[in-house]
């Protein structure tokens, strides 16, 4: 795996992400500055990490989405390259047009920082092959704007094409408004782009990858990506 982690001013989760990529893949990821115009040669995974790019000014992710490096990311994704956006990274991918929809203010207006349960909807994608469909994983969230919405037609397409990969659920995997902490439509926590090679998700799988963190539920996502890329090579 030759991962590239994008770095924008105000991002603060890029080191967690780099540490996890190194831990799971055994290879140091490249850190790529927002003002660069090209990804390192041979990059096979682009990760847009979490944080508060540009202080969340204007709209979360809006300014980062227009940074010079994003043209290179768009071209990489157009050629089928794998892109993962977490938290602010999901917001940036939505603002850049790589994913549909918008992350709105949480329904209860609060910043929410705690563990949530996610139901993995499919296991036949590069991002979820480390899990079983229907499996429930526990990972942290930390966001004020994670309430996913899109117009009805877009939601119908996402659901119809099986592009919702993760949903907020109860520990038993049931969809329940009480376990949908931010109010996202249909409990959507993570979605795939049209071609299945771009994933955006609000929760932080990179923070549950080793025993010393308490849990390892997030590891399957990165281990699955390593397997997928090893097979593709």
């Amino acid at each position: 795996m030759k991962a590239a982690v994008l770095v924008f001013p105000g991002i603060n989760r890029e080191r967690d992400m780099a540490r996890t990529l190194r831990l799971v893949s055994g290879r140091e990821p490249a850190m790529v500055w927002h003002a660069d115009t090209a990804l390192p040669p041979g990059t096979d995974l682009v990760v847009v990490p979490g944080g508060f790019s540009y202080g969340d000014y204007l709209r979360c992710g809006a300014i980062a989405a227009r940074a010079p490096i994003m043209d290179a990311v768009r071209a990489f994704a157009d050629k089928g390259g794998l892109v993962l956006g977490v938290c602010n990274g999901f917001q940036i991918l939505c603002e850049s047009g790589l994913l549909p929809g918008v992350l709105m203010r949480n329904q209860n207006l609060r910043f929410i920082c705690r563990d949530v349960y996610l139901r993995v909807e499919r296991s036949d994608t590069p991002f979820t092959r480390g899990y079983n469909a229907g499996q429930v994983i526990r990972v942290p969230v930390a966001h004020g704007e994670g309430n996913y919405i899109a117009d009805g037609e877009t939601i119908a397409r996402l659901e119809g094409e099986g592009r919702v990969l993760f949903r907020y659920a109860s520990p038993d995997g049931l969809l329940d408004p009480d376990w949908n902490h931010n109010g996202a439509i249909n409990g959507i926590a993570g979605i795939l782009g049209e071609r299945g090679n771009v994933l955006g998700m609000m929760p932080h799988p990179e923070n549950h990858v080793e025993a010393s963190m308490g849990r390892t539920d997030g590891r399957g996502l990165f281990a699955g990506l390593v397997d997928h890329l090893a097979q593709a090579a």
Binding site: L58, R59, A62, R66, E95, V102, M104, N106, Q107, L109
Partner: protein, 80 residues
């Protein structure tokens, strides 16, 4: 030239911030408030005096950055 771009949420988009402000106004006893929607105002100075060009520049600014047209509408006003 002075200009203003006003960005507002499309109707039907839930606005929790507007709702919170509406609730605060009601609890302050401000009578007669039926509902509140929050938006954004950008005051922008445009170089030169060509009105049509200014409007085109502002429209480009709104489309490219100031508004997310998935959820927001915008209005451009070049001030006299």
């Amino acid at each position: 030239m002075k200009a203003r771009v006003t960005v507002t949420l499309k109707s039907g988009i839930l606005d929790p911030q507007g709702k919170a402000i509406e609730g605060a106004l009601k609890s302050l006893g401000v009578a007669g408030v039926a509902s509140v929607r929050q938006g954004k105002v950008f005051d922008i100075e445009i170089e030169g005096g060509d009105r049509a060009r200014a409007e085109a520049v502002l429209k480009e600014a709104a489309e490219k950055l100031l508004a997310n047209t998935v959820i927001e509408n915008y209005r451009v006003d070049v001030l006299p």
